[in-house]
C-alpha cells in the first residue's frame, strides 16, 4: 500500500501516541507499522560491502592481487594477530590455514612462540622444508562471526587444510542479540533462576556452534578441504572463581545472611584443610542457589582434599560452567555446552576434532590440568602448546595419508623450539599481571612471579621495580618515567602484553595484590627495602597531598577488571559488602562525605567501618541522602586504610517485577543492593 507524506506523518503521530500510552508491545507496534508501507520501502536489505574479499583480517589485497599486505591503517589491531607482513596468494607448498582465538595465538610469548610456529616446525621436520606453509590467521578476541567472515575471504588463499582453535569466546557472542531476545512468555521474578538462565544460554550456544560448523562444511569440506577443530581446555586446577563471580546471589532475608555465613565457613574450612566442614558448607550453599559457581568450587576443593579426583574434576567443571552467567565480565573459557555441541555436530559435517580436555586430562597429574599446561585460564604454556600441536600434527598427517609417524619423534620435533629465557621470564610476569587484573589471588600471582624469577632474576627484578612505581603513580602508566625505562629495555617485550601498561582510560588500578607480591619477591632478592612500596603509595596517594580523594576512582574502589558486565556510571553494589581504600599520614582526623541510596531494597541500612572498627550505622533511603562523618585520628593508620561497608537489607524489592527478555532476567538475578553517587575523603 502506498501512502502520501501527510498520511505518513499522521501515522507516525498515531504510532508515537500508541507507544507512549504503553498499551502495546513492540510486536503490536511493528504490526501497525506494516500498514504504512510507502513506495520508498523497496530498498535493498543490506548495502553491498565494497571491501568484501579485499581484506583477510588485517591484511589487504595489493593492487596486483598477488599478495595480502598488512594494512598500516589497522596498526592498532596488529597486536591481536600474527606478525606476518605479507601473505602471498599462491605458494608452492601445501598451505594450512590455522585460525581461531587467542588460544591459537599463544598469548604472552608474542610472536616468539606460537602454535603455528610449532606446528610448522613439526610438519616441516616430518616432510622436509618443502612440506607445509602454515598461514597463521588466529586473532586474540576472535568471535565466531568474525571467524566466518575471515574464512570466507581466506578461501582466496586456496588452503589444502584448515585448523580451527576456538570455543573459548563463543559465550561473548551472546552479548548482542541473545541478551535482548524476548522470553517465550513474560516471567515473574519468582520464577527466575540461574539454572533457568543457564539452560537458555546453553541452548543459544548449541545453536551458535551448529551454524559455525555448518558454514565450515559449506566453505571447505564440500570443496574437499579437510577441517580440524581443536576444542580448547580450561585450567581447572589453577584458575579460581573470582570475587565478582562469587557475588551475593539474589536471596532475601534469612537466606542472605545464611549464605554469607556459609561462604565464610567454607572459606575458613578450605584454608584449614577441613574437607568435612568444607563439603558440608558447600552443600548447604548449593541448596540455597544451585547456579552459583562458588558452591561447586568449594565442593571441588573438598574433593581435592580427599583425593577424589574424578569428583573434583566434575565439580570444578561445573563451577567453570556456572561462572559465565553474566555475573561478571569473566574471562574466556570452554563451556561444557560448547564442547558437547562441537563433539555432537562435527561428525555430521565431516569435521575432525581434537578435544584438549581429554588430551590434557590424560597427561595431567590426577587428570586435572593446571599450571603445568596453562599460563592462565585457557592460554597454554610451552608444554601445553607442544602437546596440543603434536596432536594436531598427527591429525594433519593422517589427512595427508601419512599414518605411521612415531609419536615420540613428533614430540622431539616439537621440543626443538623454545623461546629465549628472557621471553619466558616476561611471559610469566605478564601472566602474573593478567591473573591479578582478572581477580586471581596471591597463589596464582606468586606462581608466575617465581617462574619469571627462575628464568631471569635480573630481568624480573628490573621490570618489577619499574612496574611497582609505574602503577603506583596516579598518572596514566604509559606517561610515567618508569614506563620509559620498560620501553627502552627491549628485553621486556612490552609489545607482547601492552595491557600491562595501557589500562582503560580513567580505569587505572593500584594493583595492590600484584605489587605486594612483586615487592615480596624483590625484598627476598635484596633489591628493595621492605617498606619501600608502602612508602611510595603513601607519598603518591595521601589525602593530605590531594586534599580531597574520590574513593569511587577505580584505584580506591576496585581490585581487578573483573566487574559486572553492564557497568553503571556511578558505584553500584551488587554484593552486600563494599570496600574502599585510602592513604593518609594519620596525623589528623579526616572527613568523609557520601551520597548514597538503597533504591531497590526495603529497610536498608549501612554499617561502615574503618580498619575493622565500626564507625557508623545508618538507615538508608530510596532517595539519595548525604552522609557526612569524621574519621578520628585514632582510627587511622599511617599508609593504607580500609573502609568496609555492609549493606544490610531485609528484602529485595523485585517480587512484583516481570522479566520480558534475557536482559531483564540478568538484572533481576543480580539485584543492586545500594548505590553511591559520590564518596570522598578530605582533610
Amino acid at each position: 500500500m502506498s501512502v502520501s507524506e501527510a498520511t505518513r506523518k499522521t501515522a507516525a503521530d498515531q504510532l508515537a501516541e500508541f507507544i507512549a500510552s504503553g498499551e502495546g508491545n513492540v510486536t503490536d507496534v511493528l504490526e501497525k507499522m506494516k500498514a504504512f508501507k510507502t513506495d520508498n520501502g523497496n530498498i535493498p536489505q543490506q548495502l553491498r560491502n565494497d571491501n568484501a574479499g579485499k581484506y583477510i583480517g588485517i591484511w589487504k589485497e595489493d593492487e596486483q592481487g598477488t599478495s595480502y599486505i598488512r594494512d598500516r591503517q589497522l596498526m592498532p589491531e596488529w597486536v591481536k594477530w600474527a606478525g606476518l607482513n605479507k601473505i602471498p596468494v599462491s605458494t608452492n607448498k601445501e598451505r594450512l590455514l590455522l585460525t581461531g582465538e587467542s588460544v591459537g595465538r599463544g598469548s604472552f610469548y608474542g610472536n616468539e612462540y606460537s602454535p603455528a610456529i610449532i606446528l610448522q616446525h613439526i610438519l616441516n621436520s616430518v616432510a622436509g622444508h618443502q612440506g607445509s606453509e602454515i598461514t597463521d590467521l588466529a586473532k586474540s578476541g576472535m568471535t565466531p562471526g568474525e571467524m566466518l567472515s575471515l574464512l570466507e575471504n581466506a578461501q582466496a588463499l586456496k588452503p589444502s587444510q584448515v585448523v580451527i582453535m576456538a570455543g573459548n569466546n563463543f559465550f561473548y557472542g551472546l552479548y548482542d542479540d541473545f541478551i535482548h531476545g524476548s522470553l517465550p512468555e513474560p516471567l515473574a521474578a519468582g520464577e527466575l533462576s540461574g539454572r533457568r538462565l543457564k539452560a537458555w544460554i546453553d541452548e543459544a550456544l548449541d545453536h551458535q556452534v551448529h551454524v559455525l560448523l555448518q558454514e565450515l562444511h559449506r566453505m571447505f569440506v564440500t570443496a574437499g578441504i579437510p577441517v580440524t577443530f581443536v576444542i580448547p581446555a580450561f585450567n581447572l586446577a589453577g584458575w579460581k572463581v573470582t570475587q565478582q563471580e562469587s557475588c551475593t546471589p539474589a536471596l532475601s532475608g534469612e537466606d542472605l545472611l545464611r549464605w554469607e555465613q556459609l561462604l565464610e565457613t567454607a572459606r575458613d574450612a578450605q584454608a584449614q584443610g577441613d574437607h568435612e566442614s568444607l563439603k558440608k558448607a558447600a552443600e548447604a550453599l548449593l541448596a540455597l542457589d544451585a547456579s552459583h559457581p562458588a558452591s561447586y568450587e568449594c565442593l571441588g576443593e573438598a574433593a581435592l582434599l580427599q583425593h577424589q579426583w574424578t569428583a573434583a574434576r566434575q565439580y570444578l567443571e561445573t563451577a567453570r560452567d556456572h561462572t559465565l552467567l553474566f555475573r561478571s565480565v569473566g574471562k574466556p573459557r570452554i563451556l561444557s555446552s560448547v564442547r558437547n555441541a562441537i563433539l555432537k555436530y562435527a561428525p555430521q559435517y565431516h569435521i575432525d576434532t581434537i578435544d584438549l580436555n581429554t588430551l590434557l586430562a590424560a597427561n595431567a597429574k590426577n587428570g586435572i590440568p593446571g599450571h603445568d599446561f596453562f599460563m592462565d585460564y585457557c592460554h597454554m604454556n610451552m608444554k601445553g602448546i607442544r602437546l596440543c600441536m603434536v596432536a594436531v600434527a598427527v591429525t594433519i598427517l593422517h589427512q595427508r595419508g601419512l599414518q605411521h609417524i612415531s609419536l615420540d619423534m613428533l614430540h622431539s620435533y616439537a621440543a626443538e623450539i623454545a623461546p629465549p629465557r628472557d621471553v619466558n621470564c616476561m611471559a610469566h610476569i605478564y601472566a602474573a599481571i593478567h591473573h591479578a587484573h582478572n581477580g586471581q589471588g596471591n597463589d596464582n600471582i606468586m606462581f608466575h612471579l617465581k617462574q619469571a624469577f627462575s628464568f631471569s632474576r635480573e630481568l624480573a627484578t628490573v621490570f618489577c621495580k619499574s612496574y611497582i612505581t609505574m602503577v603506583t603513580y596516579r598518572l596514566s602508566s604509559p606517561l610515567t618515567r618508569e614506563f620509559m625505562k620498560i620501553l627502552e629495555n627491549t628485553a621486556t617485550c612490552i609489545e607482547y602484553y601492552p595491557e600491562a601498561a595501557f589500562h582503560p582510560r580513567s580505569g587505572k588500578l593500584l594493583d595492590l595484590a600484584l605489587t605486594d607480591a612483586m615487592s615480596n619477591m624483590l625484598v627476598e632478592a635484596g633489591a628493595i627495602e621492605p617498606a619501600a612500596t608502602a612508602a611510595l603509595r603513601l607519598s603518591e596517594h595521601a589525602v593530605e597531598l590531594h586534599r580531597v580523594v574520590d574513593l569511587l576512582e577505580p584505584a580506591y574502589s576496585r581490585s581487578s577488571y573483573d566487574n559486572y558486565p553492564f557497568p553503571s556510571n556511578y558505584y553500584t553494589a551488587r554484593d552486600i559488602r563494599s570496600s574502599f581504600i585510602f592513604f593518609t599520614d594519620a596525623r589528623q582526623s579526616l572527613h568523609g562525605e557520601m551520597i548514597c541510596r538503597c533504591k531497590h531494597a526495603n529497610n536498608g541500612a549501612l554499617q561502615l567501618s574503618v580498619n575493622g572498627r565500626s564507625l557508623l550505622t545508618q538507615p538508608l533511603s530510596k532517595r539519595w541522602i548525604p552522609l557526612s562523618f569524621t574519621i578520628d585520628q585514632s582510627l587511622l593508620t599511617t599508609g593504607m586504610n580500609r573502609i568496609d561497608i555492609i549493606w544490610e537489607q531485609q528484602s529485595i524489592d523485585s517480587t512484583d517485577q516481570i522479566a520480558e527478555n534475557i536482559s531483564d532476567v540478568i538484572t533481576l538475578l543480580n539485584p543492586i543492593r545500594a548505590e553511591i553517587h559520590r564518596f570522598t575523603i578530605s582533610i
Binding site: 501515522a11 511493528l30 598518572l475 614506563f483 601492552p498 556510571n569
Partner: protein
C-alpha cells in the same frame, strides 16, 4: 533553586548547572570521555558541573531536558517508517529518556522537557543581555521544527512560526557536506572553509534544491534527498543535478567541489538574509538572537551582521545542540520562579574545568617529560612564550577554565605566529593532521582590532568573519578571499591570553596570534593536563604551556612514546555516524 540543563542522545551531549539562575558551569560530555560528539547521557559533564557548583545530585531541584521525547518519537517514526526494526523500536520509547536520566545520571527528581528549538532560542536570548530581541533558530532538526522565528521580551519567548522536517536548510547543508565527501555533523566547517576557493557557479542547482515559501517557510525538493531512508543523505538525482558523482572521502578536491561549496555558502547566506529580513519585518525589533547549528556558520553571521536589518546580533558560543542545555535550564528557571535568569550578556564561554598549578603538578607526578616551572614568575613565562611564538614555534596553550562550545577561545588553544607564510600548512599537516585548505582564525587584542580587521564590535566568540585590513601581512590567518574569523580578547575575559598578545605585540609589533583548537583531527578539544600532554606527544607542537609550566619538545624525546601510543593507546572514536544525520 538548582537546575541541571541536559542535552543528550543525539549528538554533542552537554550539561550545565544554574544556581539560583546563575550559570555556574557547562561542559560537553565528549571532553571527558574523549569520544568526539559523544551523545550519551552526560554523566561526566554533570559530575563536573556539580563539583564546580559545590553541590551533589541530592541538591538538584529540577532537571531540564532539551527536547520533547514524545514529539521527537513521532518524527523519528516518520523518518523510519516502515523499516524500523524491533531493536530500534525498543530504544524509541518516549520513556527511554526518563529511564536514561534515572539510570545513567542517577537523577530521580522532577524533569521538565523543553522543546528543542525553544531550548535553542532560550540559550541565545537569555544570555544575550537584550531586554527584547527577535529570535531566529536554524538547525538540522529538533522534534519536528528545523527553523523557527520568534521574539523574546523579558522572561517570555514566543516562537510564532516554524518550518518543519523534512524541510531544513541545515539538512541541505549537511547533505551537500556529505556529497562533497566530508562527515556529516562535523565536516560542515570544512565546506565553509572550502567555499572561498570556489565560484558560485551552481546557484541554479541550489534554487532547484530549496524553494522559497511564504513568510518564513521554504521547502526542500525531496526527490534529491535520501536522508529519510536512513542510508545516506543524498539521492542519485542530486548527482544528476550537479552532473557529477559524489566525492569519495579523502579523495582529491577538484575545482568542481570548491564551486559547489561556494555556491552552497552563498545560497545559504541569501536564504538566511531573506529570512532575517522577514523576521525583522514581522517583529520590528532592533536586536537579533540566533542559535542552532547553522548559527555556527560565521561567514553567514558576518553577512547578517553587516547586511541584515538588525542593529545588533548575538550568537551564543555553543549555538549547536550542546548549547540547548543552557536554554532548557533557563526555561525551567523561568517556569519555576516566574523570573528571567539574572544573567547579563554572556561575557565568557569558559565555563568548564580549570586546573591550578598545584593540581597540574599533582596530576602529573611521575611524568617522563621535563618541564620548566614559572610558578614564581608568570610574567617571565608570558615573555618566554611570546619569544618562542615570535621565533616561529607552535604553542599548545592550556590556561584556566575550558571553553563551552565547539570553539577554542584561548583556554585550550594552539597558538602560532600569523605572519609566517608557512605556518598554515605546517599546522594543518603536522599538528592538526587535517586538510591543507582549511583556514585558521586570528585572536586579536580587542583594543587594536579595528586597526587590523573590518570590525565595529568585539567578537569574543569567534562567530563571524570580516575582512582583514591590517598593514601587517598575515598569511596564516587570512583566507583566500581576504577574510578572517576573528576572536577579540580583553583583560577582563582572558587576562592570560591578553598578556601574551601584548608581549607578542611588544616583540613583533603584531597584536594578533593564530588560534586554533587544541586537538588533533578526530579528537575532542583537550580537557585535562593529561589530555594536553597526550596531544602534545602525538603532534608536532613545539611547546606546551600548562598553567605556569612550560614543556619544550627540544627538552624531551617523544618519538618512542608517540609510536607506542599510536600502536596501543586510545583510538579515535566517533560516537555518531559520519555518513548520515542520525534521525532514528
Amino acid at each position: 533553586m538548582n537546575i541541571l540543563g541536559i542535552a543528550a542522545l543525539y549528538h554533542d551531549a552537554a550539561c550545565c548547572i544554574l544556581k539560583d539562575g546563575h550559570l555556574v558551569a557547562a561542559a560537553q560530555e565528549e571532553r571527558f570521555t574523549r569520544i568526539k560528539h559523544d551523545p550519551d547521557m552526560p554523566y561526566h559533564a554533570m559530575q563536573y558541573c556539580l563539583r564546580e557548583a559545590g553541590l551533589t545530585i541530592a541538591d538538584i531541584d529540577m532537571l531540564a531536558y532539551y527536547e520533547i521525547p514524545r514529539l521527537k518519537l513521532s518524527r523519528q517514526l516518520y523518518s523510519g517508517l516502515p523499516e524500523v526494526s524491533n531493536e530500534i523500536l525498543r530504544h524509541l520509547s518516549p520513556d527511554a529518556v526518563e529511564r536514561q536520566i534515572a539510570e545513567k545520571l542517577g537523577y530521580d527528581g522532577p524533569v521538565q522537557f523543553v522543546p528543542h528549538h525553544l531550548s535553542h532560542a532560550a540559550s541565545s536570548f537569555f544570555y544575550s543581555g537584550f531586554k527584547e530581541s527577535a529570535i531566529f533558530t536554524v538547525d538540522g532538526v529538533g522534534e519536528w521544527a528545523t527553523t523557527t522565528y520568534g521574539t523574546g521580551i523579558g522572561k517570555d519567548i514566543d516562537l510564532f512560526e516554524e518550518v518543519h522536517y523534512p524541510h531544513s536548510i541545515g539538512l541541505l547543508y549537511s547533505t551537500i557536506t556529505s556529497y562533497l565527501g566530508f562527515s556529516v555533523n562535523d565536516g560542515e566547517y570544512k565546506v565553509m572553509g572550502l567555499a572561498p576557493y570556489g565560484n558560485p557557479r551552481y546557484m541554479d542547482c541550489f534554487r532547484e534544491l530549496l524553494m522559497p515559501g511564504d513568510g518564513g517557510q521554504y521547502q526542500l525538493n525531496l526527490p534529491y534527498f535520501d536522508f529519510m531512508n536512513s542510508r545516506k543523505m543524498y539521492a542519485p538525482g542530486l548527482c544528476d543535478l550537479f552532473q557529477h558523482a559524489a566525492r569519495l572521502p579523502e579523495s582529491a578536491l577538484e575545482q568542481f567541489h570548491k564551486d559547489v561549496a561556494k555556491s552552497l555558502q552563498v545560497f545559504l547566506e541569501e536564504v538566511l538574509l531573506e529570512k532575517v529580513k522577514y523576521l525583522h519585518r514581522k517583529t520590528g525589533m532592533e536586536n537579533l538572537c540566533m542559535a542552532g547549528g547553522v548559527a555556527l556558520n560565521c561567514v553567514a553571521n558576518g553577512r547578517i551582521q553587516r547586511e541584515g536589518p538588525f542593529r545588533e546580533l548575538f550568537v551564543q558560543p555553543a549555538a549547536n545542540d550542546a548549547g540547548c542545555a543552557l536554554g532548557a535550564a533557563a526555561v525551567a528557571y523561568v517556569t519555576a520562579t516566574g523570573r528571567r535568569p539574572p544573567e547579563q550578556r554572556l561575557a565568557n564561554a569558559c565555563l568548564g574545568p580549570a586546573f591550578s598549578d598545584e593540581e597540574i603538578r599533582n596530576s602529573l607526578r611521575g611524568l617522563f617529560m621535563k618541564a620548566r616551572n614559572f610558578s614564581n614568575n608568570p610574567q617571565q613565562l608570558t615573555e618566554k612564550v611570546a619569544t618562542l611564538l615570535a621565533s616561529g614555534k607552535v604553542v599548545g596553550w592550556f590556561q584556566g577554565r575550558m571553553e563551552f562550545g565547539p570553539r577554542a577561545l584561548g583556554a585550550r588553544s594552539i597558538l602560532a605566529d600569523p605572519r609566517d607564510p608557512d605556518m598554515r600548512n605546517r599546522i594543518n599537516a603536522m599538528v592538526k593532521k587535517r586538510e591543507g585548505f582549511r583556514p585558521f582564525a586570528p585572536v586579536v587584542l580587542e583594543e587594536k582590532m579595528q586597526a587590523h580587521f573590518d570590525l565595529n564590535l568585539p567578537s569574543p566568540f569567534m562567530l563571524q568573519t570580516c575582512q582583514v585590513r591590517s598593514a601587517i601581512d598575515l598569511p596564516a590567518i587570512t583566507h583566500v578571499d581576504g577574510s578572517a574569523r576573528v576572536q577579540t580578547v580583553n583583560e577582563q575575559t582572558n587576562p592570560a591570553l591578553t598578556s601574551l598578545l601584548k608581549a607578542f605585540d611588544r616583540i613583533t609589533g603584531c597584536p594578533i596570534l593564530l588560534n586554533t583548537s587544541f586537538n588533533v583531527r578526530g579528537e575532542p578539544i583537550v580537557c585535562t593536563p593529561v589530555d594536553a600532554i597526550l596531544c602534545f606527544i602525538q603532534t608536532d607542537i613545539d611547546c606546551l604551556v600548562l598553567g605556569n609550566y612550560l614543556f619544550l619538545r627540544e627538552d624531551n624525546n617523544l618519538d618512542a612514546v608517540a609510536h607506542i601510543y599510536g600502536m596501543y593507546g586510545h583510538q579515535h572514536k566517533e560516537a555518531i555516524s559520519s555518513q548520515l544525520y542520525t534521525f532514528i
